[in-house]
């Protein structure tokens, strides 16, 4: 791979006007901020963070429902660490606070950890918060299938899983959307394959490059993307071939298909998008926490937080009126500030003011 200096020289030499690139993966958001890539790019190139952080696109009302469920004394709530500090519609109210008030909330690295918690606590219900995109969906499916095989009746999954393509299509249809190319998420592409992103150039005329996560990978992918934009021929390039195959991971896709079916899903910032969520199929209803506990999600409440505009690329984090004032990583109002992959957290944490 060419050196950073070479790539930056090539980027600067490209005949480009103002260009806005969107990355749609929380790991990219953090990696870009951590490596200080924005400070290296010419001023005409802007990097925006799209709806790539699964926590950030979870509506506050869903978190409210999670918080309510967490207080059930007969229940252990298992979650990835990112969800622990996310506030619901009341700032400061989070699973972390509920845990301090007595809720049994456990942090897991994998849905399989939650399954083991269930196996060790047969007298309690264990609910796993299935958050993420196609990257975490296969692992969540594997846990449901394993729970079925082992007959673990006290285990269930609350699926908040979402899929990337419908969200990107909805995003591109948003009024005022102004992005000239997508830096595509290597992790999701590992599962979906190159084919998962072909729709971008093929049906949306949108330049797209699949990128890895080392700072050099990202710079290389950005360079490829900018070259594409400069030559005006949208196509899909795979700049992460060491992990991403054209067809993706067939086994993982098959597992997802066995366990989940597409459904309407509410996204923070984007609203309801048809077929953009993954719900448990009817045959797995016994492991579906929403059905098991009759979960209801309240109507969307207005908030001063501009997370929605941030994740659609309409607003840079510092232009949210709460940014760095009422909303900081230690007292977050919006999920973009609390999630370790959120655009606001990345900006607040790493950006030189």
């Amino acid at each position: 791979m060419p050196s950073a200096e070479t790539l930056l020289r090539e980027i600067r030499a490209l005949p480009l006007g103002d260009v806005r690139i969107m990355e749609v993966c929380g790991t990219h958001t953090m990696a870009i901020a951590e490596a200080g890539i924005r400070s290296l790019l010419p001023e005409n190139v802007k990097l925006l963070s799209g709806p790539g952080c699964p926590v950030c696109v979870t509506p506050a009302e869903v978190i409210d429902a999670v918080l309510a469920l967490s207080m059930d004394k007969n229940l252990i709530l298992a979650s990835y660490g990112d969800m622990i500090r996310v506030p619901g519609s009341t700032p400061g109210d989070s699973l972390q606070r509920r845990r301090a008030l007595g809720a049994d909330v456990r942090i897991c690295y994998s849905p399989m950890d939650a399954l083991e918690i269930a196996a060790k606590n047969l007298h309690k219900e264990v609910v796993f918060l299935g958050v993420g995109f196609e990257t975490t969906a296969p692992g969540t499916a594997a846990a449901v299938l394993a729970a079925g095989e082992r007959g673990l009746k006290n285990f269930s999954v609350w699926s908040m899983l979402k899929t990337v393509e419908p969200a990107l299509r909805a995003l591109m249809g948003t009024e005022g959307f102004n992005v000239q190319g997508f830096l595509c998420p290597g992790h999701v592409a590992t599962i979906l394959g190159e084919e998962g992103f072909r729709f971008l150039p093929a049906s949306c005329r949108m330049p797209a490059v699949i990128s890895g996560f080392e700072s050099g990978d990202i710079l290389f992918a950005l360079c490829r993307l900018l070259m594409q934009i400069a030559d005006g021929e949208p196509r899909l390039e795979n700049a992460y071939p060491r992990a991403v195959r054209p067809e993706g991971n067939r086994l993982a896709k098959a597992m997802m298909g066995r366990c989940f079916a597409p459904r309407r899903e509410l996204w923070r910032g984007l609203g309801e998008i048809p077929a953009s969520g993954l719900g448990l199929r009817e045959e797995w209803a016994a492991f579906d926490a929403e059905k098991k506990f009759g979960v209801t999600v309240g109507a969307e409440k207005p908030t001063a937080c501009r997370c929605g505009e941030v994740i659609t690329g309409m607003r840079e984090p510092p232009r949210c009126p709460l940014f760095g004032k009422r909303c900081t990583p230690e007292d977050p109002v919006g999920p973009c500030m609390v999630s370790s992959e959120g655009a606001c957290a990345a900006w607040y944490k790493y950006q030189i003011p």
């Binding site: 950073a4 400070s39 500090r85 400061g92 690295y109 975490t136 700072s215």
Partner: protein, 329 residues
């Protein structure tokens, strides 16, 4: 909504600072406390205390007993004092195997011998099962001030920022032990630092400040040096020694080495012309063998710690906001 204490308040970062400033200082204020140094400086005496609640109580490279001795010894030593006497209180949950307690005490004995300190007073309490977690230890330490005047207020533009070895070993080793996820060679760096402090200060170099970057890690300690001042610190990412295993484990666990606790490392700010001499003095001891200069004090970024990244970009390195949380993917 009523404010309650959450784990974030114990992380050693911004919320801990807020707890101290808003809840503790207003009531208990006095000149020695208000300085908020690792130990109180009382004329020729330095006095410090620390509580240890680590889980698990045994971890690769140490245990809660070794940690309780080293932690307090180090807090006294970085003030420029020679640590001498410790107090030790045990809060034991009933059900703890006697053998475990004996093992912890044996390890305290070894650490005391290594550091040249004695436990001269103590206390034991046993609480009902479920009202504590196996074993908590509090130690306090007294030392005699030998090198007065160390303070972050002494920093000058152009000073060198040095570290005595690799960053993030303790925090990462404990997190790995807790997760039970991976078997690695990684061990905690838990060690007494009084010999290293003395070796540094005996060089006669213009040392401005010493600090052991425990909770909150290197990033938080460096921020404490410069916050609210007209000076900043610029670090060079490539110069910061981090073990490959720590880097890899942190990447998997969603942690950052510069925010992970260290229990056997020193940060030292000193005049740039003395940097080589100090690095040589540190490297002469096993606990300082990986010492390196990691940055400089600058007037360009008042109150901030900046990082020049491996790619050549620049970013801010903040204080830890709250407990580090593992990530989704």
């Amino acid at each position: 909504m009523d404010e309650i204490i959450t784990l974030d308040y114990g992380s050693g970062g911004k919320k801990t600072a807020r707890l101290i400033e808003n809840s503790i200082l207003p009531a208990l204020s006095n000149p020695a406390l208000n300085a908020l140094t690792d130990g109180a400086i009382l004329g020729d005496l330095v006095f410090s205390t620390d509580s240890f609640v680590v889980d698990p109580i045994f971890f690769p490279g140490g245990d809660i007993g070794k940690l309780a001795v080293c932690g307090t010894v180090n807090d006294v030593a970085v003030c420029g004092a020679e640590p001498k006497y410790l107090s030790c209180s045990f809060i034991i949950e009933e059900g703890l195997p006697m053998a475990a307690l004996s093992r912890v005490i044996a390890s305290m004995k070894a650490a005391c011998a290594q550091a040249g300190v004695q436990v001269v007073t103590g206390d034991t309490k046993v609480v009902e099962r479920g009202r504590g977690d196996k074993l908590y230890i509090n130690t306090a330490g007294i030392g005699f001030l030998k090198y007065p005047g160390l303070s972050p207020a002494k920093l000058r533009e152009g000073d060198a920022v040095l570290i005595s070895g690799t960053a993030g070993d303790h925090g990462t080793a404990v997190m790995l032990a807790r997760s039970g996820m991976m078997q690695t060679e990684l061990t905690s760096d838990c060690a007494p630092l009084n010999r290293l402090c003395a070796a540094i200060l005996d060089t006669g170099a213009a040392v401005r400040v010493l600090r052991d970057p425990t909770r909150g890690g290197v990033a938080t300690t460096l921020n404490e040096f410069v916050e609210g001042t007209s000076l900043g610190i610029e670090l060079a990412e490539g110069a910061i020694p981090v073990r490959p295993a720590v880097k890899a484990a942190c990447a998997m666990l969603g942690l950052e080495p510069l925010y992970c606790a260290n229990e056997g490392k020193l940060l030292c700010v000193a005049a740039q012309e003395d940097a080589e001499k100090l690095l040589a003095a540190m490297r002469a001891l096993p606990e300082g063998e990986n010492a390196a200069q990691i940055g400089v004090v600058t007037a360009n970024a008042p109150g901030k710690v900046l990082m020049k990244t491996a790619l050549g970009g620049r970013r801010v390195l903040q204080k830890l906001a709250g407990a580090q949380l593992p990530r989704i993917c």
